[in-house]
Amino acid sequence: MHLGCWAHNFAYRHCGSCRCYVYEERRGWSNTKPPGDALPNRLLAVDSSCRIELAAGALWDLLRIEYVRVALTHLGYPLYVLIILGVWRIPGALTLLAPRLPRLKEWAYAGAFFDYTGAMASHLLKGNHGSQWIGPAIFSGFTLLSWGLRPASRKLPNAARSSEGNLGISWAVSVLTVAAMLVVAFFTLPKGAPPQ
């Protein structure tokens, strides 16, 4: 049984780096990726960083650590926004990691993009320094990159019928990855207020 490529959450058959032989109904046994169905390796970092940010951000928000409290008060938002954003971000990260669900992924990408561009616009309209809005700006760029580069098996409209690797294992890996991100984020929480 082939689980799919490790770099793509065990869901895809080929990512161009694994080179393992897999069987597909149409192509038979092969160790090369079908055209247009995988992310280039060096873009994986971009792709995964925006999911890590979502999960870590969710934990920061839900724990209401001082860092985000100070930043939010400075921007002039009420603190309950942290609950709204934090609650949205965890299912968002999980949706982006999970196999299939192309339409839900579309909504998650939309939400992440609105989130980052909203943060960037808030810093800009507040007249903050470039160092403060450059972070959200970079992440909104990453979101667009990750969205534009998603493999064909995760795009509307053909994804619903695409046969990916083992769905159960791929779901389990997604959930465990989000849990691991949350644990790592918990142990690396920033202390104190952000630099102004």
Partner: protein
């Protein structure tokens, strides 16, 4: 008029009435936000937000309205529906957290219902327009696969 044509006309009405209603609420609201009309600014102030949020929301509402009315780009339309859903849910949650009366919480939820009916009809239209002309359209049944 055959039954198929009647059904097609009915589904058009079911799309355009909710769409028109919520766009009729959202597009003027977008303009009002951008002009920083006093009533909008007051509501935002009571909820504890800064005034510049009006600019962000106003631009977002207008762009979303254009994307839905234009309608050719399906992904853009999908994102616009997502945006209006997040916007109305966020508004309802904000009223909730600010301990406002139930009527105020209900208003964005009514708009949300219109958005979702419009979205549902649009998806059904997508399904039936993929079929050959004059064939009996199947009912749009949402399932895990349609996510």
């Amino acid at each position: 008029m055959t039954i198929v044509e009647k059904k097609a006309t009915a589904s058009k009405w079911f799309y355009w009435v909710p769409t028109g209603l919520f766009l009729f609420a959202q597009i003027p609201a977008g303009f009002a936000d951008l002009m920083r009309v006093k009533s909008a600014a007051d509501i935002l102030g009571q909820l504890g937000y800064s005034l510049y949020l009006l600019t962000i929301l106003g631009v977002a509402k207008l762009l979303g309205g254009i994307a839905i009315l234009y309608g050719r780009n399906q992904i853009l339309k999908e994102w616009a529906y997502a945006g209006f859903t997040f916007d109305t849910l966020g508004a309802a949650a904000s009223y909730c957290f600010a301990h406002d009366p139930f009527v105020k919480i209900l208003m964005p939820l009514i708009v949300l219902a219109l958005v979702l009916v419009s979205y549902w009809q649009w998806r059904a239209e997508q399904v039936s327009s993929a079929l050959p002309r004059n064939s009996q359209p199947p009912r749009f049944r949402p399932s895990l696969g349609s996510l």
